[in-house]
């Protein structure tokens, strides 16, 4: 009602204009128009503010709680778009909707090798590690909901939407934020906090794809359904200690159909500032799982592709560090990030050769392997919206002891490696375009030249700037 009066007043003013305009120049006219526009805007803004206050007063009256308690917590979504003046109690039903974020991603990939035959010599990851399909495709898009559940728990749900129209629950967890003594427990499905990159969603990575050790040792990223407990030390130096238990069904584990705990992880991270311009974080993590019948295909000495099955213990240790530099800590214009991680894995147990008996009787014998890998990347922001980066990944096939099965299987002595460079443009906090080239040599005598042109768009709630 009051707004329409404001508009009417503005139009009435506008109606008076022509008689003055007879003598006025174009510039004057433009100025008057601008003034009226300003007037109208300020009028509308004021009415808006009044409406908001009215709404607040109504809400307060309805719940009769003190103002401090009804004020929205800072972590929730931006307040909803202005509602119509006829706001009643019923229109407040969605006032507690969680913050919604959608991440749209897409890529154009030009690959010199067939991505459906993607494999890393000497390593047997499963999971979604192949680069994008050739040509255009939407990459992993995401839909996330988050909110404070109550005064003690925060909840987060993230779906990942794949190009093949499948939907996966990427994360679905609750987290206690208000426990004393610096204890932060998380429960449900979550990306494990081992390493540095593991708990970061793909759209915040510095490169389009995961580093090779993540692909080889964790099948991309490690997540489990379970419980995490983190403790932050009350020191000026950042010290974080955490432990996780879970079902351990994702690679390198398997679904075990057993009661109890399938995976366990412990980690420690330390971090802090070095002067005003630098910040660092370093950590050590250990993950242990008990895969039971983890199956994969391997080529034997006769050239047959044979189904293998591994049961036993898989132990992974990760050392990680990241160092970020920006002049005076202001990363808006210039910044440099250096990050690297080193992975060691030891697997011991039994390997069943030709598990489905396709080439004769199956044969089970002891198996043990020691393998490692690392990557190092650096990203330099040279203008507010522009960054360049380079990355080097390398895996060491290490030693694999096939026991009695050694007569069928040869030791791999090739060390896969990859060189990547990227260049990206970030016009706003909510969009990014990236060009990436990499040369990967994952198998003897095979070089894959890969080009990716990628976009990342963020809709909805303002995302967090994770370190």
């Amino acid at each position: 009602m009051s707004r329409s009066i404001g508009l009417a007043a503005a139009f009435a003013l506008a109606g008076l204009l022509p008689c003055h305009a007879l003598a006025a120049t174009d510039a004057d006219l433009a100025e008057i128009r601008a003034q009226i526009k300003q007037l109208k805007e300020s009028y509308e803004a004021r009415i808006q503010a009044l409406e908001e206050r009215l709404k607040e007063a109504e809400a307060k009256g309805a719940s009769a709680r003190p103002a401090e308690a009804t004020a929205p917590p800072v972590a929730t979504a931006p307040s909803p778009a202005p509602a119509a003046p006829t706001s009643t109690a019923s229109s407040l039903a969605n006032a507690f909707n969680p913050a919604i974020t959608a991440v749209l991603q897409g890529v154009y990939a030009n690959l010199s090798q067939d991505p459906t035959k993607y494999a890393i010599a000497g390593f047997v990851p499963s999971g979604d590690i192949a680069p994008a399909k050739r040509g255009f495709s939407i990459a992993e898009s995401e839909l996330g909901f988050s909110a404070n559940v109550d005064d003690k728990i925060y909840g987060n749900l993230v779906f990942s939407l794949a190009p093949d129209n499948s939907i996966e629950v990427e994360e679905a967890y609750g987290m206690f934020t208000s426990l004393p003594y610096g204890i932060v427990p998380k429960f449900g499905r979550f990306l494990s906090s081992i390493g540095y990159l593991n708990d970061k969603h793909q759209h915040v990575w510095n490169f389009f794809d995961a580093p090779l050790p993540y692909q080889a040792f964790l099948g991309g990223q490690f997540k489990s359904d379970g419980l995490q407990v983190k403790w932050i030390a009350p020191t000026d130096l950042y010290l974080e200690f955490g432990g996780e238990i879970g079902d351990g069904s994702s690679f390198p584990g398997t679904d075990r159909n057993k009661n109890g705990i399938g995976s366990g992880a412990v980690y420690a991270h330390a971090g802090g500032e070095l002067g005003t311009s630098s910040e660092w974080r370093a950590g050590l993590s250990y993950l242990q799982l008990r895969p039971d019948g983890r199956q994969y295909l391997q080529t034997d000495v006769f050239g047959n592709t044979v189904l293998q099955s591994f049961s036993g213990r898989s132990q992974l240790t990760i050392a990680d560090f990241v160092w970020k530099w920006a002049p005076n800590g202001n990363a808006t214009r210039t910044s440099f990030t250096l990050q690297g991680e080193y992975f060691w894995r030891r697997e011991t147990g039994d390997l069943t050769f030709d598990a489905d008996g396709a080439f004769g009787p199956t044969s089970t014998s002891g198996y043990s392997s020691r393998q490692s890998g690392w990557y190092l990347d650096g990203v330099y922001k040279f203008l507010p919206a522009w960054r360049v980066g380079a990355r080097y990944d390398r895996l060491a096939t290490g030693t694999v002891d096939y026991g009695a099965n050694g007569v069928f299987l040869a030791q791999e002595s090739f060390n896969p490696q990859r060189y990547s460079v990227m260049f990206d443009y970030t016009p706003s906090e909510f969009s990014r375009f990236r060009l990436q080239y990499q040369q990967s040599k994952l198998q003897p005598d095979v070089t894959d030249n890969q080009w990716f042109l990628q976009y990342i768009l963020t809709l909805g709630a303002h995302g967090a700037h994770k370190f």
């Binding site: 917590p73 972590a75 931006p78 974080e240």
Partner: protein, 301 residues
């Protein structure tokens, strides 16, 4: 090995014992709130300021050092109005400190005690990085510091009742001194009333409203979007129709765009400290506004 463990244990113990000595651990997101708390709390508070004046408060990351400091804070003093949306919620969530969660007594938002300007009529990211609650850069109007001081002193007294009288007395002394200073600044800045200016980022809304400056244009095409050549050319054309005295930018921003326009439009490029520590002169809250007004007066000549 054992001796290093001992050292670690001793460090942990010392760290655990330390908070008991200082009365209140304050985590201030912005230098102005750190400085204000110092005025009100004196030696009864231990202040950690999360950002400095040369950082863009919109683009801070939830750094490990911030999480560590938030872990043992008794009180978080934030600007609010989503200025710290990109990092503070995450820092608070990760810190494992029940005292400082939003809604708890240990969480204080300054913008709650100030009438916000520029509440967007249209909430759309096509308008740039707009803040739904209104413009959060309230510290550019000295009167807002005075408005926040009262509730902040009450908050300190609430969290540290033993020293309530101390905070109240300091607040009274501060308010008196501050009001006198505001009157002095207003008198000094009287010649600035009506001065046409352009700004780099829409960060000076409250300053303009306070001192009666007339903002003609902004160098950023949309809030938070870097100035483009096309937009700067447009601004230049506007300046030919509506001449201005100066272009204003905050200390944390690059001077490129404002130098570009200053050279072509033959106007003064003025850097304002924006908050405590923004330049060598702005050492505390008083010198912040002394310096701001001195620079504006110089720019308006």
């Amino acid at each position: 090995m054992i001796s290093s463990l001992k050292i670690l244990a001793a460090t942990l113990l010392a760290a655990l014992a330390a908070p008991a000595l200082a009365a209140l651990n304050i985590f201030a997101t912005m230098p102005e709130w750190g400085a204000l708390t110092e005025e009100l709390g004196g030696d009864k508070v231990k202040i950690y300021t999360a950002t400095n004046a040369l950082q863009d408060a919109h683009h801070v990351e939830a750094k490990p050092s911030l999480i560590a400091r938030a872990r043992s804070a008794d009180l978080v003093i934030a600007t609010g109005a989503e200025l710290e949306i990109g990092w503070l919620p995450l820092v608070i969530q990760q810190a494992g400190n029940p005292k400082i969660q939003p809604g708890k007594p240990g969480y204080f938002e300054a913008t709650r005690y100030v009438t916000l300007l520029e509440k967007p009529v249209r909430l759309d990211r096509a308008e740039g990085d707009v803040h739904p609650g209104g413009n959060p850069h309230i510290q550019t109007d000295a009167r807002n510091i005075g408005k926040v001081a009262g509730p902040l002193a009450a908050k300190l007294a609430e969290l540290d009742p033993d020293n309530a009288a101390f905070y109240q007395a300091r607040y009274k002394a501060f308010a008196e001194k501050w009001n006198a200073a505001v009157a002095r600044w207003e008198k000094q800045a009287a010649p600035l009333r009506g001065t046409p200016i352009i700004v780099q980022h829409k960060a000076f809304t409250y300053l303009e409203a306070w001192l009666g400056l007339n903002q003609v244009a902004a160098l950023e095409p949309k809030p938070g979007v870097e100035p483009t050549t096309a937009h700067l050319t447009e601004v230049l054309a506007t300046l030919q129709r509506t001449p201005v005295k100066m272009v204003i930018r905050a200390a944390y921003q690059s001077d490129r765009a404002s130098q570009w326009i200053a050279e072509r439009a033959k106007i003064n490029a003025v850097m304002l400290p924006f908050t405590v520590g923004g330049d060598a002169e702005a050492k505390d809250l008083y010198s912040l506004y002394d310096d701001t007004i001195a620079r504006l007066l110089k720019g308006a000549q």
